[in-house]
């Protein structure tokens, strides 16, 4: 009957209970919604960086990392190709990478000239999926080049425009060569788009009159979870090379990934802490209004444990009606935006500057829903303690004003 009384007590002041339940509902819903948005943005940002610019693992000549000299190449790049053949889900692209200037009739910009074999690069990078004009080396065209949209806008060029690449060859001679734009790509990272142009390796070798030079091996694994293991394996097999996983190359991304769940829980905790004060206030008002009744209950023989339990149960009911409902609606919202994404085109420029996509696909760890439910229940219990304590402090005589 304690449960029955607690349940019915909630509905004695429907408006007040509905207000606090709505607050809990909105708090839980908005908390999960914001968390799923944040997680989706972060995951997409990480994936964008990995799939366009970093990959899962990169290998360099150690000296190249200290000084990007064209002569610091990976001499045994073919062995890396052979090594990869023995590992499932291992994709590798050997790149020529030279710093240089890109210029058109309308301007110039510093950037990286990346020489690739398009078929191999498609295995480790998603840039070919990000073409907005032209194509990604669909057929071989001598001195064809693919550039980012940001750079194209800066240089005021379009597909088929001619641009000049200027860089040093291994003999430290300055080389300038004309390239014709074959395609323009646009990733979620506008800085990357501005800094990186892609050409075919064989063109670079021909222009510099050298063999194909490999400065960087980019590796993509079908299973991201294997990164650490494969990195260690590569390190032990290629001790002359610098093997780095994405976690080392971009520690900010890795760190954000690691602390993301903690941050999500902290956001939820802050929301629930704010809600707790609302719950406490509501329950204190309820206790104050019912002090005569509570005094009577103590007078007729309801012990303190039962009285305490009644207030606690009432508070838990109040939270457990609206909390799970908020979670359920949040789950539906998250699932919808997980599939359809949320369009942030109106602030695209700002987002892309820092590597975020303009369409954000929500994401959420299923465990988070359970964790949030536990937090809601815990908040309810903690919020009930003070009002329940205040109820115990009532003096039956004063509460009823004499029997």
């Amino acid at each position: 009957m304690i449960l029955k009384i607690s349940w019915r007590n909630i509905w004695r002041n429907k408006l007040r209970s509905l207000v606090v339940m709505t607050a809990i509902f909105l708090g839980v819903w908005s908390g999960v919604f914001i968390d799923a948005l944040s997680l989706g943005m972060n995951n997409q940002r990480t994936e964008n960086f990995l799939s366009t610019s970093i990959g899962h693992i990169q290998i360099h000549n150690p000296k190249y990392l200290e000084d990007n000299k064209i002569s610091f190449t990976i001499s045994n790049s073919n062995e890396l190709l052979d090594f990869g053949k023995n590992i499932d889900g291992f994709h590798i692209s050997n790149r020529t990478k030279i710093g240089g200037m890109v210029s058109s009739a309308n301007g110039a910009s510093a950037g990286n000239v990346v020489g690739i074999i398009p078929e191999n690069e498609k295995e480790v990078s998603s840039i070919y999926e990000s073409m907005v004009y032209g194509n990604y080396f669909e057929e071989y065209k001598k001195n064809g080049i693919v550039i980012g949209r940001k750079l194209a806008e800066k240089l005021k060029v379009k597909v088929n425009s001619k641009i000049i690449l200027t860089f040093q060859d291994p003999n430290n001679e300055i080389i300038a060569s004309a390239f014709r734009i074959q395609g323009i790509y646009k990733t979620a990272n506008s800085r990357f788009d501005e800094m990186n142009v892609f050409v075919q390796q064989q063109d670079l070798a021909r222009i510099m009159n050298t063999e194909i030079l490999i400065h960087e091996s980019g590796i993509w694994l079908d299973n991201k979870e294997n990164v650490d293991q494969v990195t260690e394996n590569l390190k032990s097999n290629f001790s002359n090379l610098e093997v780095r996983s994405w976690k080392i190359i971009a520690p900010d991304l890795s760190y954000t990934d690691e602390i993301m769940m903690q941050m999500l829980y902290i956001i939820m905790l802050i929301i629930l802490a704010a809600l707790a004060f609302g719950i406490i206030n509501t329950m204190l008002m309820a206790i104050l209004e019912r002090r005569r009744e509570l005094g009577m209950l103590m007078a007729v023989g309801m012990n303190k444990t039962k009285l305490f339990s009644m207030v606690v149960i009432e508070t838990i009911f109040l939270s457990l009606i609206s909390g799970p409902l908020g979670l359920f609606v949040a789950y539906l919202s998250v699932e919808y935006f997980k599939v359809n994404g949320m369009d942030f085109s109106s602030v695209a420029a700002g987002l892309e500057d820092v590597g975020y996509s303009t369409i954000v696909y929500f994401d959420m760890d299923p465990e988070f829903y359970f964790g949030t439910l536990v937090m809601v229940v815990t908040t309810a219990i903690l919020s009930s303690i003070y009002p329940a304590y205040k109820a115990l402090q009532l003096n039956p005589v004063e509460s009823i004003r004499g029997i």
Binding site: K4, M296, V300, G301, K304, K306
Partner: protein, 228 residues
């Protein structure tokens, strides 16, 4: 057999720096089966005496013995349990639980006593029948008149089979008809089941029906009259 014994009860309050002697040396014995009215002007100490006898308030000096057990120095939790098992309360403002029906209100005390559901329901229905509310058992307090609510309160007070019932101005909020009905019921219970009732009251109709009238003034018993 004495069911209540008080010995030189004193209860002092401090109000605005002044000591108020609400009870000033009250010694009395109440026998099982009495229908006792405690009367006196406002501020004479009637309610304080009932509070102290009922274990809701502690005396400054003196002792209270209920059925041979001294309750004056009992700890809070023991006292709550003692009240549950031994004392029935009827309050001036009924003080029913608004979210429960008449039947559930009557059952409530037995629930605290951990009586099984079937037994609770049977006794509650029997008591509500005795107070003339068998057709109202599913009504909530706000669906009943003041008189009906007070009758539910009497049924609730009796549900735990207490040694006595303390009633503070039980008819104060009732009209003449409801007062007469309530007094009839309590008198009948007193006569048939030997239930001991102790009232504090101003109401002459209650005083007229009482078998013993104790008059208080300034915290002292100034008369104690047993009717034949």
């Amino acid at each position: 057999m004495s069911i209540i014994k008080t010995n030189n009860l004193e209860r002092f309050y401090t109000e605005g720096g002044l000591t108020v002697k609400a009870l000033n040396g009250v010694t009395l014995n109440i026998e099982e089966g009495e229908f006792t009215a405690i009367v006196g002007p406002s501020g004479s100490g009637k309610t304080t005496l009932l509070n102290v006898i009922g274990g809701l308030d502690s005396p400054t000096n003196g002792t209270v013995e209920i059925a041979g057990t001294e309750i004056t120095n009992m700890k809070d939790n023991m006292l709550i349990d003692f009240r549950l098992k031994n004392i029935g309360f009827v309050f001036q403002a009924y003080n029913l639980i608004p979210v429960l029906s008449a039947l559930e209100n009557t059952e409530f005390i037995m629930l605290l006593q951990k009586e099984p559901k079937a037994k609770r329901e049977e006794r509650a229905k029997q008591l509500l029948k005795e107070v003339g509310l068998e057709s109202q058992i599913n009504k909530k307090p706000n669906e009943m008149s003041g008189g009906q609510q007070q009758r539910v309160a009497v049924a609730r007070a009796l549900a735990s089979k207490p040694k006595f019932v303390l009633a503070d101005e039980p008819t104060a909020n009732l009209d003449s008809k409801s007062t007469a009905d309530l007094l009839d019921i309590m008198h009948e219970l007193n006569q048939k089941e030997k239930t001991t009732f102790i009232f504090s009251t101003h109401d002459q109709r209650v005083i007229d029906r009482a078998t013993r009238v104790i008059t208080l003034e300034d915290g002292k018993i100034i008369s104690d009259e047993t009717k034949k």
